[in-house]
Symmetry: C2
């Protein structure tokens, strides 16, 4: 084949991948009966950047959150992660959303689930994941600018009330239900079943307890793959006079290696960590998968496919507002901007961010105690 | 049928029940490959009363305990219960053994598993079982005369390190293993699976942690039905450079209602509680199942069957030494003592015990703090 044919083939393949990615979210939303966010954006005083850019795109019950915001009623957000390495730009998407939610009144709970990291084999010990939580994840979160008065971070093994809640709720969580929602094999360990079946639900429902002014309207921002946990939590909430949590579904930031994978700490080279060296980050950007094709001559003619481009998406998710992202999209599609130029731009954005984050990160380390959840859940024991 | 035939039939039936009960322990010990205690009694400085009376009758690895006693090495005992009501004389059997073990050097750990009570539906809430633990079970245990320096009591929901240990060990506990040892149905809740599969093992292995001078030789005195937990704990111990726990199997004290049931708080009228009113206790004794028969004329002729008599066994387990129990056995068998006389005697024994216990119980309430396990398990998190 000649270069022209190869280039066209390459371009067509990327267009196909774009369709596939878009279809995935459309199909999945239909299947799970999630609602489109579009018509709700207007209820918010000002939709979040993620909402405007269609990164936050589907929901369940978010109208209740909009009502709480407008009527200035208290409401809560729970959003955590299992610490197995530094935070990356994929995590930052969610935390940006949390910052917006906090600005509009949310009390935010952030469980750092070292038990999960260990039990699903992301770390070798509970201690290893716990260390990562305190030394890397927490400072990065705090560095992003959360309000210590309204942000409550906890590590599962250091906030064991979560297990009392899990034990309490687990009486209503039948093995058959967990099996139908998540499946499990007999070769799985009992810890992972208990984690998925009870501890996770307990975290989602934590604000429902009287110690945290529950029952209270709660929003859980999550990836679409975690929807079954919300279903389970809503089910348990209804059985316990709690308010069923609302959910806001966010699209994953794709990893730098392309092929549809999300940015993930466990796939080498797929992520730029918030604590990466500038040099390291630039090297990853250099190797990153794009929506362009081999031949710059034909790319000028055919254009790129920004929707599958890890570099375009990194910019869109983190460094451009809606209009800027649309403008870059058009420029790329029309072949006016090529990948090398776009990567140069990204280098500058990322370098500035990492420098700034590094400074704030060091200061944040000393602020951890202000953010740790201290209030015990005693009501279930009295 | 005439009275003579009825009486003979009744007597033969009780002899059959005696055989059945004895066969149960013999068969079960063989099946589980437990060792007979007889040849080990001689290694102990002085066997416990329960050993002498064949109430403690089988074991695994108890020679290691004998060695520790003789060589004055440290060793530990774990023995707990799920609080759902006051302690009864069935519990007292185990605690008597614990007192003997403590006298010979054991550091004693007593988990009061309110999570278990709740999860298996013996209480309606975690709080209810927790309240019973502090207000009834702990004072009764302390009243029996344990040494606060060497006795560590904890309620699961107030000593949540147990869940960190459970999470840690659970990674090695496969669902398939738990299923083969205990079975479970899909309609069971996930909490009970986690409890049986991980929390229970964590309690048994608690002394193995460095905070409690582990790895250390440990003995678990239990009923024969709990043997699978020991198997599981021994298996996990071997995988973690811990010392596999030894076990001492104790025969159940049968309930007052006869028919082979053990004394159990959940079967009304089967137990005399250590906190019963004298009147209440006497009333239960009056109605208690015995080894005698309806006609006293023929009982004098045929004799009783003390081995199935709840009254004889209550005396044997708690108020008679080995010689006295043998003497009463012979008297009963030869028809020299009838049930009414024996019950009168039991009334006196029980009345004296309950009076004494009541006094000590009130004092014990104030001593709880001295017995609570305070040391945290931090080594698994560092």
């Amino acid at each position: 084949m000649d270069i022209e044919s190869i280039s066209k083939k390459e371009h067509v393949e990327k267009e196909r991948l774009k369709e596939e990615a878009e279809d995935y979210y459309i199909e999945k939303s239909k299947e799970l009966r999630l609602k489109d966010l579009t018509r709700f954006k207007k209820y918010f005083p000002e939709p979040s950047e993620n909402m405007k850019k269609d990164i936050a795109f589907a929901h369940k019950d978010i109208d209740k959150i909009a009502t709480a915001i407008v009527s200035k009623k208290p409401w809560a957000v729970v959003s955590g992660l299992n610490p197995s390495g530094p935070l990356h730009f994929g995590h930052k998407t969610i935390f940006d959303e949390l910052l917006w939610l906090q600005k509009h009144g949310a009390e935010i709970f952030i469980p750092l689930t070292n038990d999960e990291s260990y039990i699903v084999d992301k770390t070798k010990t509970l201690a290893e994941s716990r260390k990562i939580a305190y030394e890397s994840v927490m400072p990065s979160i705090i560095a992003m600018g959360f309000d210590p008065e309204k942000t409550h971070i906890f590590v599962d093994s250091d906030y064991p009330d979560i297990y009392n809640v899990a034990m309490q709720l687990s009486k209503q969580l039948k093995i058959s239900k967990i099996r139908s929602l998540f499946g499990f094999k007999d070769s799985d360990n009992v810890g992972s079943l208990f984690y998925r079946g009870a501890v996770q639900v307990s975290q989602i429902l934590l604000p429902q307890y009287i110690e945290f002014n529950g029952p209270i309207i709660t929003l859980i921002p999550i990836g679409i793959d975690q929807h079954p946990y919300i279903l389970l939590a809503r089910d348990i909430a209804k059985k316990n006079d709690m308010l069923p949590p609302a959910e806001l579904i966010m699209k994953f930031l794709p990893g730098l290696l392309g092929a549809g994978g999300k940015m993930s700490a466990s796939i080498k080279g797929s992520s730029i960590f918030l604590t990466d060296d500038i040099k390291e980050a630039k090297d990853k950007i250099k190797k990153a998968y794009t929506g362009g094709i081999m031949s710059s001559k034909y790319q000028k003619e055919l254009g790129g496919v920004p929707e599958v481009c890890s570099i375009f998406l990194l910019q869109k998710y983190h460094f451009l507002n809606q209009e800027e992202a649309e403008e870059l999209n058009i420029k790329c599609r029309s072949g006016l901007v090529l990948c090398s130029e776009c990567k140069k731009c990204t280098n500058v954005f990322v370098e500035n961010y990492l420098k700034d984050h590094k400074e704030k990160f060091e200061k944040a380390k000393t602020e951890i105690p202000k953010f740790l959840l201290k209030k015990r859940i005693t009501s279930i024991l009295e």
